[in-house]
């Protein structure tokens, strides 16, 4: 257990120390939210209609930003070789890395998402659900994104490739979260969408470390 705690501390320190911590992802998110009215027009009704869905989708995109360095830097400087040989199972190591990614980028974004939705004119009653979806979905995005980052190790075009691999995998959680949001906005029962999102997240957290570890072993040996 001790190596994993140390690793979590290291990952968090790395995520926070250089490059401004969660600031780049938040700035990207704010930039997207600012551009949305320019793209669809400033009429409040139109903005309000797309605001929750936009806040939710932009979160999925923002969570892609820092994925490239999740494994790539450790792969290049040899840390990943040590982690593969180390005492902790590689599956747990991968899970810890994704957890740190979620704590460093996903959590701040989850707080920003309802703010963006309200600023764009979504009803305030939707904000708690936007936050919940962002909180739960962000965990799934971090784990599935980590899988994409591990698979793209040793390739020529890291960031773009990760996005191509990961975006289709994001389809189910985006559908479930978006479904919950539209149903609440329409005054319908919304819990099934949220429950499906939580179920999908649980499956992603449980299963993707296995594939991630296999991908890491493939990359280093």
């Amino acid at each position: 257990m001790k190596p994993l705690v140390t690793l979590l501390g290291r990952e968090l320190a790395l995520a926070w120390s250089r490059g401004g911590g969660p600031l780049p992802a938040l700035a990207f998110y704010a930039g997207m939210a600012t551009l949305l009215p320019f793209a669809v027009g400033p009429e409040p009704e139109r903005l309000a209609a797309v605001a929750p869905g936009f806040a939710w989708l932009a979160l999925a995109l923002a969570s892609l930003l820092s994925l490239e360095r999740l494994f790539e830097r450790d792969f290049e400087d040899g840390t990943l070789d040590l982690l593969v040989l180390g005492p902790a199972p590689l599956e747990a190591v991968c899970a810890i890395k994704c957890l740190a990614q979620w704590l460093a980028a996903g959590l701040p974004l989850a707080f920003a998402a309802p703010l963006a939705a309200i600023a764009l004119g979504a009803p305030v009653a939707l904000a708690p659900l936007v936050f919940l979806c962002a909180l739960i979905g962000g965990l799934a995005f971090a784990f599935v994104g980590g899988l994409g980052a591990a698979l793209a190790l040793g390739s020529r075009r890291g960031g773009l490739l990760i996005a191509i691999i990961v975006l289709p995998l994001f389809a189910p959680p985006v559908i479930f979260g978006g479904g919950a949001l539209t149903q609440l906005a329409a005054g319908l029962p919304w819990t099934s969408g949220l429950a499906l999102l939580a179920g999908w997240t649980a499956a992603a957290v449980a299963l993707s470390p296995l594939a991630m570890a296999a991908a890491c072993r493939n990359a280093v040996d």
């Binding site: 698979l151 040793g154 289709p168 389809a171 594939a211 991908a215 990359a219």
Partner: protein, 239 residues
């Protein structure tokens, strides 16, 4: 079957004859299927456009079936580290992408006269589009790797992860009620279709399947030759 074909020499000897035979079989089945399809009576609601079914529905079957083949080949190449299974996975992906694109395009051409629109964002259409993106991701991952063996293994992991998508394709049809009609051939109560339509549809399905088998074998053979040529070129460069 797998054990027999796992030997590359036996595979090459088998596919030398099997590939053209599957091709001839595909041509024959499709000719009869199309003939019967055009001879079938017009649908009382859809009129002549119902004949789109005979090229659209088999393409969607194949889009899923090829992904299943890709998943099985990837599993075999991951577990047994078999080079031929890896070649089979590599050869299947572009074929699957083409069948998926065909399903999307013919579906869109059918949707225009029937639904009055080329495209609707309905669950089933969208999940086939996601399947198409999966094929593209697989092909892109393979293409981006310098090391072919490592690239092949990473792509195999991605293919197995993508298999999760296949049940969601089916599941999404139920979760969303939509414009798209539900399943009408593979149902517990039996097909909801008269034999006038069912027989040409099944013939076309088998014809598509045979065409895929033929093209798949040809592409695997080409991949085996490409690897042989690369080994020879390396040897020549060393000498």
């Amino acid at each position: 079957m797998f054990a027999f074909l796992a030997n590359p020499d036996r595979f090459m000897a088998f596919s030398r004859w099997a590939a053209p035979m599957f091709g001839v079989l595909a041509g024959g089945l499709m000719m009869v299927g199309l003939w019967l399809g055009f001879a079938a009576p017009e649908d009382y609601q859809q009129g002549d456009t119902v004949r789109m079914m005979f090229i659209h529905v088999p393409a969607s079957w194949l889009a899923l079936f090829v992904y299943l083949c890709l998943g099985v080949a990837s599993f075999l190449s991951l577990v047994f580290r078999h080079a031929l299974a890896d070649a089979a996975a590599k050869a299947a992906a572009p074929l699957g992408a083409v069948f998926t694109a065909l399903a999307l395009i013919t579906g869109s051409l059918w949707g225009k006269p029937m639904w009055g629109t080329w495209w609707v964002w309905d669950a089933r259409l969208t999940s086939v589009l996601v399947l198409f993106l999966f094929y593209l991701g697989y092909i892109a991952l393979r293409a981006a790797m310098d090391d072919e063996t490592k690239g092949g293994r990473a792509a195999a992991i991605l293919a197995l992860v993508g298999l999760v998508n296949l049940p969601i394709v089916k599941f999404s049809v139920d979760w969303w009620n939509s414009l798209h009609q539900g399943a009408s051939v593979f149902r517990a109560e039996g097909p909801a279709m008269t034999n006038d339509y069912l027989i040409p549809l099944l013939l076309m399905g088998l014809g598509y399947m045979a065409a895929f088998g033929s093209l798949w074998l040809v592409r695997i053979r080409a991949e085996v030759w490409r690897r042989k040529a690369m080994v020879l070129a390396l040897k020549a460069a060393e000498a």
